[in-house]
């Protein structure tokens, strides 16, 4: 265990950024999101949840895949350069780290998505324990320990120090880079914080929400439930829940004509959007009820069916905080639980 005084955090950021780009929570225009550290960035480790998850670090909202150049009839294709330099994502919470592991199941499955794989290979995760979990958090339901998250390096923030514990080889290598700034520490403060967090987690209203009945075998029974027809009604068909979600991975591939070459880029898409499944001969999910159902069935039934029971939800609670109509996955889980289905 190492530690660094809070007052020296800027030196730590600068030291990390000297060798690789550093992404961390930055407050800009009143909101905190992951961004690239610069000298004048307002780093914000106090806000528990960035508005968007850290998903962008590995799977950006929008990224170029390749560019087509046309010369008369002749087409040539220039693939986008893959991530080649390492980078650090600092301050990821346990839910976001698990979110990346959910994405791994999709993008690293055969055939591997190289764009994502390259970022995962070169990305170093410095996670941060949640010293003050909030009421919409329910990561515990998915077996996540927010007091000691996964990651290459795990850190804890107390009133005076940031405690730093390398976990993986990548984490050790990063620690070596900044060794001059770190001092040795015992586990006492961290143990205390972990115990305090564990006690808080038990008081969270949804930490122990039951997922009983949600699994790959529940497909037809859940799909055919009349509850969806009641649950979806206030849904505005916006993409807020999907875009703030650490695990939503659906994407679109589109063209952007730069005037000098056509970029084929991919961007996050949302199964909540009416044109998501639209094709020339029609649309197989015509109603918002169907689209709403798809999102939750995918997270709680289809994904576990394909991934040994792993849910495609990490309980970060961002959808709980951000849905304009106050709909969310908790209400869905609870509604089904109430009906005993």
């Amino acid at each position: 265990m190492k530690k660094i005084a809070i007052t020296k955090l800027n030196d730590l950021y600068a030291a990390i950024a000297q060798n690789q780009s550093l992404l961390l929570p930055i407050k800009r225009a009143g909101q905190t999101n992951f961004g690239i550290w610069t000298e004048d960035a307002e780093v914000d480790l106090q806000t528990l949840k960035t508005v968007k998850s850290a998903k962008d670090a590995f799977f950006p909202q929008s990224e170029n895949l390749y560019t087509c150049y046309k010369d008369g009839k002749k087409i040539s294709i220039a693939p986008e350069k893959l991530q080649e330099e390492s980078f650090v994502v600092f301050g990821m919470k346990g839910c976001d780290v698990r979110g990346a592991m959910v994405l791994d199941k999709v993008f690293l499955a055969n055939p591997v998505d190289n764009y994502y794989a390259a970022r995962r290979e070169h990305g170093i995760i410095v996670s941060l324990a949640c010293s003050q979990p909030e009421e919409s958090c329910f990561c515990k339901a998915f077996g996540i320990d927010c007091a000691e998250p996964e990651g290459d390096v795990v850190t804890w923030l107390t009133a005076d120090y940031l405690y730093w514990k390398p976990v993986t080889e990548k984490g050790e290598a990063l620690t070596a880079q900044v060794a001059d700034l770190l001092e040795d520490a015992d586990d006492k403060a961290v143990s205390e914080q972990k115990a305090a967090i564990a006690a808080t987690v038990e008081k969270l209203p949804y930490a122990n929400i039951s997922l009983e009945g949600w699994n790959g075998d529940a497909l037809k029974e859940k799909f055919d439930s009349p509850l969806w027809e009641q649950l979806y009604k206030p849904c505005l068909a916006c993409g807020t829940c999907t875009f703030v979600c650490p695990t939503c991975q659906c994407y679109d591939i589109k063209d952007y004509d730069t005037g000098n070459g056509i970029q084929r880029y991919r961007c996050w898409d949302s199964c909540m959007y009416s044109d998501f499944t639209m094709m020339a001969h029609g649309n197989n999910r015509n109603s918002q009820m169907q689209r709403f159902r798809q999102r939750f069935m995918h997270k709680l039934v289809y994904f576990p069916a394909n991934n040994d029971g792993m849910y495609s939800c990490v309980g970060c609670g961002r959808c709980v905080d951000k849905c304009p109509s106050h709909l969310n996955i908790l209400k869905v889980i609870k509604a089904f639980g109430k009906e005993g289905k």
Binding site: R28, A29, S62, E135, P234, C238, S325, H326, L330, K334
Partner: protein
């Protein structure tokens, strides 16, 4: 609230209306969700409290297609949106039974959180708000937890209703155009920096568009495939501005300033400022106009007269 619920139930039971459009109890005081109620049993979950901020008028577009009347609960400012949708023939007055519900300013849990409170376990909708959190109890003054829009309240009168329930209060304590004037006073560089910082937070979730009662097009131009600018992502750093500026143009003269866009934005972008700028300019150029105040009034941008002002943004350097 009980009286409102009883009255709504009465109208549902006697067949005056086929359903009630109101709010359903959430997990907590602060997260009621818009809901349709069709049975007395369902009505048990009906709620109307000071966190019922959602403007339900847009749901009447879908409700107008259903059999029978829908009882809709509208707050004074929501009634402007309802009127504007009526004027645009997007909803059917005959399909609505409007209870104008009292409003003394609506609360926002985001505002409570902005006061520095974390881990909110329960909150009252009283003055002051009593907040119980994981990390201790606190109080927040009602005014400090009110939505921005309530500080420039349009007044306590409903512009359309069948009956009224409850008392309303004019909660305005700020100048509606103060922020607009502050931005107008900025240098071009400052303006650019301001909008850049605000709009670059946009995640293109389209919540602002989808909640907006003025955005009632069956197919939005941003959903067109024949458009480089897709609705889901910014292909470059300029486009995020374009989306919001184009949207502001599309609702100009029709936006009632209901403030739903800013309320739902997950990134807290003050989108209503674009609309207010248009409203301020329209007032200056065509005379005072409040969209939705009068169903029969002609819109400033949809009626032409030879006396119309012809501002040239380019030649005159814009309207300041």
């Amino acid at each position: 609230m009980q009286g409102l619920k009883a009255r709504a139930l009465e109208l549902l039971n006697d067949g005056t209306v086929s359903r009630v459009l109101g709010w359903k109890i959430g997990e907590n005081t602060y997260d009621p969700e818009p809901a349709f109620f069709e049975t007395a049993e369902a009505m048990e979950q009906f709620v109307y409290n000071n966190f019922c901020a959602a403007n339900l008028s847009k749901y009447m577009i879908e409700a107008s297609k259903l059999e029978g009347k829908t009882l809709v609960c509208l707050k004074p400012c929501d009634s402007y949106s309802f009127n504007q949708l009526l004027a645009e023939h997007r909803i059917d007055r005959e399909k609505a039974y409007i209870i104008g519900v009292g409003c003394k300013g609506k609360l926002s849990i985001e505002k409570v959180k902005q006061s520095g409170l974390k881990g909110i376990l329960s909150v009252t909708d009283t003055d002051p708000l009593k907040v119980e959190t994981l990390y201790g109890d606190a109080e927040v003054a009602y005014k400090d937890a009110m939505l921005d829009r309530c500080h420039v309240c349009k007044g306590k009168e409903h512009v359309v209703y069948d009956e009224l329930y409850g008392e309303s209060e004019d909660t305005s304590d700020a100048d509606r155009f103060e922020q607009v004037r502050a931005i107008e006073a900025m240098s071009p560089e400052e303006k650019f920096a301001f909008f850049q910082a605000e709009l670059s937070k946009c995640i293109r979730c389209n919540a602002c568009r989808n909640v907006c009662p003025a955005c009632s097009c069956r197919k939005c131009v941003f959903d067109s495939n024949k458009f480089d600018s897709a609705q889901k992502a910014n292909v470059d750093s300029f486009e995020e501005k374009m989306f919001h500026i184009i949207r502001a143009f599309h609702v100009a003269g029709r936006c009632t300033d209901c403030g739903e866009c800013s309320r739902v934005c997950p990134q807290g972008i003050p989108l209503h400022l674009f609309n207010r700028k248009f409203i301020k300019d329209i007032n200056a150029l065509y005379g005072e106009y409040q969209a939705g105040a009068d169903v029969d009034a002609k819109g400033p941008l949809t009626s032409f007269t030879t006396e119309d002002a012809e501002p040239g943004v380019v030649s005159q350097g814009g309207i300041v």
